[in-house]
């Protein structure tokens, strides 16, 4: 085989083989994203989201990880933290909190911020500042200035949830609040309490994983 033919063959192998190899390599890092969950539209520029936090997912590869769940307008609980809401709207959020308290490391986070009226409702009662020792998680969207502490359930409470998604029959707190969205775009949200049990100082694992304690708020033009 002449050098030119060998060169042409090598070039072809490099282009095709290299392209395929690069494609396969890139594919290794791709992961299926959790499905987006649409907020229920309940009025003009008003939407509603229902979430729950669980101490352990209870099944699957990361069965012991703490996690959020979201509820679709069809009332089905989905293991996802990708939430779709309309732009320039009020979003009423209801969080069913099934995890017990771990406490806030920064007591300033005990105050709900970035929410309408500066108030959240815990089991129907208005709360302007939460005792930091009672908090279990936070729901925070830094770009919108939203940070809401979520009180945990009593560790001694009967009928604790052990397998997600949890039901209203199991021990929980219900927290409601409302925040306002801005223009279309993607906004990161997450829990800011280092709550990853089994990880040193509670960091890592679910804290940095979308679908668990980290999520995206997809704000769409209505």
């Amino acid at each position: 085989m002449s050098a030119r033919r060998l060169g042409a063959l090598l070039a072809a192998v490099l282009v095709v083989g290299g392209g395929v190899a690069i494609g396969l390599y890139v594919a290794l890092f791709l992961e299926a994203s959790p499905p987006p969950v649409q907020a229920a539209v309940i009025g003009r520029r008003v939407a509603a989201l229902e979430l729950q936090t669980v101490a352990e997912v209870g099944h699957g590869e990361n069965s012991f990880w703490v996690s959020y769940y979201a509820r679709t307008p069809g009332h089905k609980w989905v293991h996802s933290t990708i939430l779709r809401v309309p732009a320039y709207s009020l979003v009423h959020v209801t969080v069913y909190q099934y995890d017990s308290a771990t406490g806030l490391r920064n007591p300033l986070w005990g105050q709900p911020r970035g929410v309408v009226g500066g108030v959240m409702y815990v089991n129907g009662k208005p709360v302007k500042v939460l005792n930091p020792e009672l908090a279990s998680h936070t729901f925070a969207i830094p770009e919108l200035g939203v940070s809401v502490p979520l009180p945990g359930v009593d560790e001694e409470a009967p009928n604790q949830c052990s397998n997600a998604p949890c039901t209203l029959a199991e021990a929980h707190n219900t927290i409601t609040f409302t925040f306002r969205t801005r223009g279309p775009g993607k906004y990161r949200w997450q829990c800011f309490v280092p709550c990853a049990a089994g990880f040193i100082f509670g960091f890592g694992g679910p804290m940095q994983s979308i679908g668990y304690m980290d999520g995206e708020l997809e704000v769409q033009s209505s």
Partner: protein
């Protein structure tokens, strides 16, 4: 029947597939896979029985690590690394039979010809360099948007870790591997390396380490970046084991290379090759070899201790059980900072080798250059704690490490002085190797100047862990070593392969690389000063335009490497321009030898007559007498 009708009885070529049964990379892979299976499914399974932390979680580190370790042993046995020791134990005579292999097959076997090992290193290092470069492209792709991402946070940090670790692992061999192995024995007038099989082993550990590291992708990655800090490493997933084992393997390889280079230069110099006649590149190899020999064992220890924490249940780095993560930080950086100079010093030596050739002047301040290289090597062991300024170390230690770190700029500056003195009033030719060599000084100056801010504890507090640091070390390592590597490659390619790389494509690659390298990394100083942290893919939307600029420029660096690949294929297979015997008119001893260099380099041990930098002196003798008489050998001290 006429004689013409009878086909001549030439050598009988055996079918190619018979070669697969001999000791080579194919048998190595087969035994490696077998070793992994036995290690994981039998030995690891038995050892982990009754340990709930391993068996009752979906992460059995004992099985995994046993599998990898036995797989490595299997691969090396399959490559034939045990053949010679066993033969010698059974009374066989010493031999370097592996040196006699011919053809392309020798590049896939244990070969004891240092030139083959050099070329093995070259392609091995380039392969992993391109993979790590691809990781860099994926990282920059993620950073196109502040919140919208292509990869998950776990996969992103794994990409960052793979990129950093692979670059730091492979680039330690980037100059020393290909050019050190190929040219050091030639440059000192030796017929081989002191320990040819150890030389082969040091190379074959490199692809093994690379493959083990890449296996981390399939083992759920690792979240630590290239530094592998405890506690993160102790609680990470199986991919962490891949990081630890592969980095330890590279440490072993580095220590072996250093040991081999030192013994070769010390004991195998030709008669007349005095210390003051040693090419400056060889001096840089000596300085680097010292660093490798002294620093790499600390890395091996650090990696091994983390592995024990993860697999056996020790608590060297677990603070809740009396261990200390600070211990790991010190172990790592006691290796990690000298490693920066393991990367930089051969690059300095290489460009100082190139400058006199292309400015037709002797190397200015030869002894000063040697002092600079050795001074950097020595001081590099006294600066490591500047990486720990914000880790909670005793504040009283900071002034000392500030001082030593800033002190190291003095021997580094000597190398710059050598370059300027050599260039001054020289007849400069801006050929491709020279362009790369000159660019190193521009880049390293920016890298060095920005390093002052990091060596200074007060300013380090605000820049630590930011993209400022990232820009700084890319200016020193990529702007230094990688530019030197390409300079060396263009310079020595005609000698190594008998083909001249295309000059126009080379210049296109250089300018693309140089311009977009600076357009990529200079803005990252600003990004860092504005507060963007390393290793985190979410960042402030106000920094998006800067990040997008950097990503676009980084893609262009990728394009410059594509031009290099095109150049190699075009020059080797299409243009095939045979170079002159000495295309750069260098006085280096390697250019006195025929191309390709014979298996034993020299028919007779040469006698060295002069320094290789006698440019501008018409009456200067040739560097080496390749066919000396006995009397000349004796007169030269042989």
């Amino acid at each position: 029947m006429s004689a013409a009708a009878i086909p001549a009885a030439g050598p009988v070529r055996e079918p190619w597939w018979r070669g697969l049964g001999r000791f080579n990379v194919f048998t190595g892979i087969v035994l490696g896979i077998g070793g992994y299976l036995i290690g994981a499914l039998v030995i690891g399974h038995v050892l982990s029985k009754g340990i709930p932390a391993q068996t009752e979680t979906n992460q059995n580190d004992i099985e995994f690590v046993c599998g990898i370790l036995l797989g490595i042993v299997g691969f090396l046995v399959g490559m034939g690394f045990l053949n010679y020791p066993i033969a010698r134990l059974t009374g066989a005579a010493p031999t370097l039979r592996e040196k006699e292999e011919k053809g392309i097959a020798r590049y896939f076997t244990l070969c004891t010809d240092h030139k083959v090992v050099g070329i093995q290193y070259l392609w091995g290092v380039l392969f992993f360099f391109l993979v790590a470069g691809l990781n860099a492209m994926l990282i920059r792709t993620q950073l196109l948007y502040p919140t919208e991402h292509f990869w998950s946070a776990d996969n992103y940090i794994t990409l960052v870790g793979l990129h950093g670790t692979m670059m730091m692992m492979m680039t330690t061999s980037m100059v020393l591997g290909p050019f050190g192995n190929y040219f050091v024995p030639v440059m000192v007038g030796a017929k081989r390396m002191a320990f040819p099989r150890i030389e082969a082993l040091s190379f074959w550990l490199l692809p093994v380490a690379g493959v083990v590291l890449l296996a981390a992708v399939g083992a759920k990655g690792f979240p630590t970046g290239w530094t592998g800090y405890a506690n993160l490493s102790v609680q990470a997933k199986l991919g962490m084991d891949c990081y630890l084992i592969s980095f330890a393997l590279i440490g072993i390889s580095m220590a072996l290379v250093g040991f081999n280079m030192l013994v070769t230069v010390y004991t195998m110099r030709a008669p007349g090759m005095t210390w003051t006649r040693l090419p400056i590149f060889v001096w840089s190899v000596i300085a680097t070899a010292f660093l490798q020999l002294l620093a790499a064992p600390v890395l091996i220890a650090g990696m091994s201790l983390v592995l024990l924490d993860r697999v056996v249940g020790t608590t060297f780095f677990m603070p809740f059980s009396g261990g200390s993560p600070f211990l790991y930080e010190n172990l790592f950086w006691f290796f990690g900072h000298p490693e920066v100079y393991i990367l930089a010093l051969p690059g300095f030596g290489l460009v100082l080798e190139i400058l006199p050739v292309f400015s037709r002047k002797p190397l200015w301040g030869y002894r000063l250059a040697v002092a600079g290289l050795m001074g950097v090597a020595l001081l590099s062991f006294f600066v490591w704690q500047h990486h720990l300024f914000v880790s909670g170390i005793n504040p009283d230690l900071r002034p000392f490490f500030m001082f030593t770190t800033e002190l190291i700029s003095i021997p580094t500056a000597l190398v710059f002085l050598n370059a300027m003195g050599t260039l001054f009033r020289g007849k400069i030719r801006f050929s491709v190797p020279m362009l790369f060599a000159l660019a190193l000084f521009f880049n390293f100056f920016i890298g060095g100047a920005s390093g002052v801010f990091l060596s200074d504890a007060p300013s380090d507090v605000s820049t630590h862990g930011s993209f400022f640091v990232m820009a700084h070390f890319h200016y020193t390592i990529m702007g230094g070593l990688v530019f030197a590597f390409f300079g060396g490659l263009f310079y020595w390619f005609p000698k190594m392969f008998g083909v001249h790389l295309n000059e126009k494509l080379g210049k296109l690659q250089f300018w693309l690389f140089f311009i977009f390298f600076n357009l990529t990394f200079f803005p990252l100083f600003a990004v860092g000063m504005l507060g963007q942290p390393r290793r985190v893919s979410a960042y402030s939307p106000s920094l998006q335009w800067l990040n997008d600029w950097v990503t676009a420029a980084a893609y262009m660096i990728g394009l410059s490497f594509a031009v290099f690949v095109v150049n190699v294929v075009y020059s080797c297979f299409f243009e095939r321009r045979r170079p002159e015997a000495n295309p750069w008119h260098s006085k280096g001893i390697e250019w006195q030898l025929p191309t390709p260099i014979p298996v034993d380099n020299f028919e007779r041990v040469p006698v060295i007559n002069a320094s290789p930098y006698e440019y501008g002196t018409p009456e200067a003798p040739l560097v080496a007498n390749l066919n000396p008489s006995h009397a000349e050998v004796v007169a030269a001290g042989g």
